[in-house]
Subunit: 309 residues, 2 copies
């Protein structure tokens, strides 16, 4: 585990290799996380999501530049669960992000689907822990924002920024419930478009209707034009306000506990998968499977016989 | 379990209630599936997917009409894991499908996200089993086709039809690997568009390059214009060919075994979730969580202590 020591000492090649190990879910993962975990808890972890074309990467770019002017180091994790229909938008964006590549204070890593369902969300959380332990002040997690996997991934962030663009006004109504559940800050990007004001108003109304008591966090709605760097410093203020709210309200602690419980659940599911894989290969299990194929026993009974929980 | 008996006897209200019970994942699920499972295995189960706007619902509509002319009963399961960004396309399509609503031989059911990740894929598989047991000759499973969840769902189908539309030629290259993994039949819909022939040719080349031996199934590429019912009977032939291939090659049996193993895995994960939920509430677990929050023990150790597997 010299590699982890080197990573914790700030060596970039070691960081890249540790992340690869986390991605490939090898045998040494528990040992890596044992060394990494005590060093976590210092980074500011932000999630950024929105529909394709909303300008997520441009905004990530602007936020990164802003943090750099404050002297903070930034790690960017771009997650693309890459459905065969979604194409490679993030890949292209990453090429553009190369403007930061000569900056030692910025680290960019893309994560894609590695086999099993659920695995990506778990791996992403652990990669963020590694980056936190490696000493980055800010970790930005950008997701393509189309499916359940991405929503699971966003649970690891302290502050989730949902970026929308003014296009179809009525679609907000449809998205409503789900968006309020995940967003801590709303951004209406490309706010030079004529429908931007109306969209922002609708979002403000939606938030007002949904916020039950004055003690709850009121999701701010920030208009930006990321291309021209407009509204970015105001967005930064909104993010800082939310981070302060997490602290004084105790919500931050609650989030950390929920996140830990989820991590434990995911560790156990991954372990169950492994053990079950081995268990299914035994002669006994093969006989049970045969009986189930002949419809002599049903899957629930078969499951109980193969791996009693 | 009188309800299941009524459902198996062909009563529609009982069918709807059994499906709702499967969706809500209640305590009586193992008992329901115990009664349902021995009656499964007769239906032809087709999966239909493709990017938004490819014409999935229209084609499902046409296939349904075709099966009805053969006197076969058809159940349609429309699955929408409804990300907050995806909106309600399937809902709108379902309204159009009401043309079959007076036909006793057609049953339509929509399934959406019910809480937990992974749960939708499992619930969908069991709903398909219920429809199979209820005596439907054909079960068509249509997914919105955007994320990992949908791809998991498609594993339950014997024959997966992937619908594409001629739009961006280069995007096929990007989608390549993933599509070949899931498709048993390709459809190029809206084939009146000028780029249709080129897209079909590219798909044929792609399939030719990927099919290793003459014994393997060669994914056929069928051009359709679902709106005008063009190419639908040819598509039906392609589906029947694949179903015949599954039989004589033994691939059908392999698929059934893989599907059963997946069902068993999902049953166990669901059970683990339940048990873990209870286990996390004990005083002992709360103490372990506190220690993990203080970073005295890492999540892997905590997981082992809370629920040893």
């Amino acid at each position: 585990m010299q590699l982890v020591e080197q990573m914790l000492a700030g060596q970039r090649f070691a960081l890249a290799r540790v992340i690869s190990k986390v991605e490939s879910r090898g045998k040494d993962l528990p040992r890596i996380m044992e060394l990494v975990f005590p060093r976590t808890g210092k980074a500011q972890i932000l999630g950024i999501t929105g529909p394709p074309g909303a300008g997520k990467s441009t905004l990530v770019d602007r936020l990164t530049a802003f943090y750099r002017t404050q002297g903070k180091s930034v790690a960017i994790v771009a997650v693309d669960p890459s459905s065969p229909f979604s194409g490679g938008a993030i890949l292209g964006d990453r090429i553009r992000m190369q403007q930061h590549s000569s900056d030692e204070g910025v680290y960019i890593r893309s994560l894609g689907t590695r086999g099993k369902q659920g695995g990506l969300s778990h791996a992403t959380k652990e990669v963020v822990m590694v980056l936190d332990a490696a000493g980055f002040d800010v970790v930005l997690v950008e997701t393509a924002g189309v499916g359940q996997t991405e929503l699971d991934i966003l649970q690891l962030a302290q502050t989730v920024i949902v970026i929308l663009v003014p296009e179809s006004g009525d679609s907000i109504q449809i998205m409503k419930a789900g968006l309020l559940e995940i967003a801590d800050v709303f951004v209406v990007n490309k706010c030079d478009r004529p429908e931007a004001d109306q969209m922002a108003r609708e979002l403000v109304n939606m938030v007002a209707l949904a916020t039950p008591t004055p003690e709850d966090w009121t999701i701010p709605v920030q208009k930006t034009e990321a291309n021209r760097n407009h509204g970015v410093s105001e967005l930064m203020s909104a993010i800082q306000s939310h981070q302060a709210y997490l602290q004084f309200s105790g919500e931050g602690k609650k989030k950390t506990l929920i996140s830990l419980e989820k991590e434990i659940t995911e560790i156990l599911i991954e372990k169950l998968h492994e053990k079950l894989q081995a268990s299914l290969k035994t002669t006994e299990s093969q006989q049970i499977l045969s009986q189930a194929l002949e419809k002599k026993i049903d899957p629930y009974k078969a499951a109980n016989l193969i791996y009693p929980l």
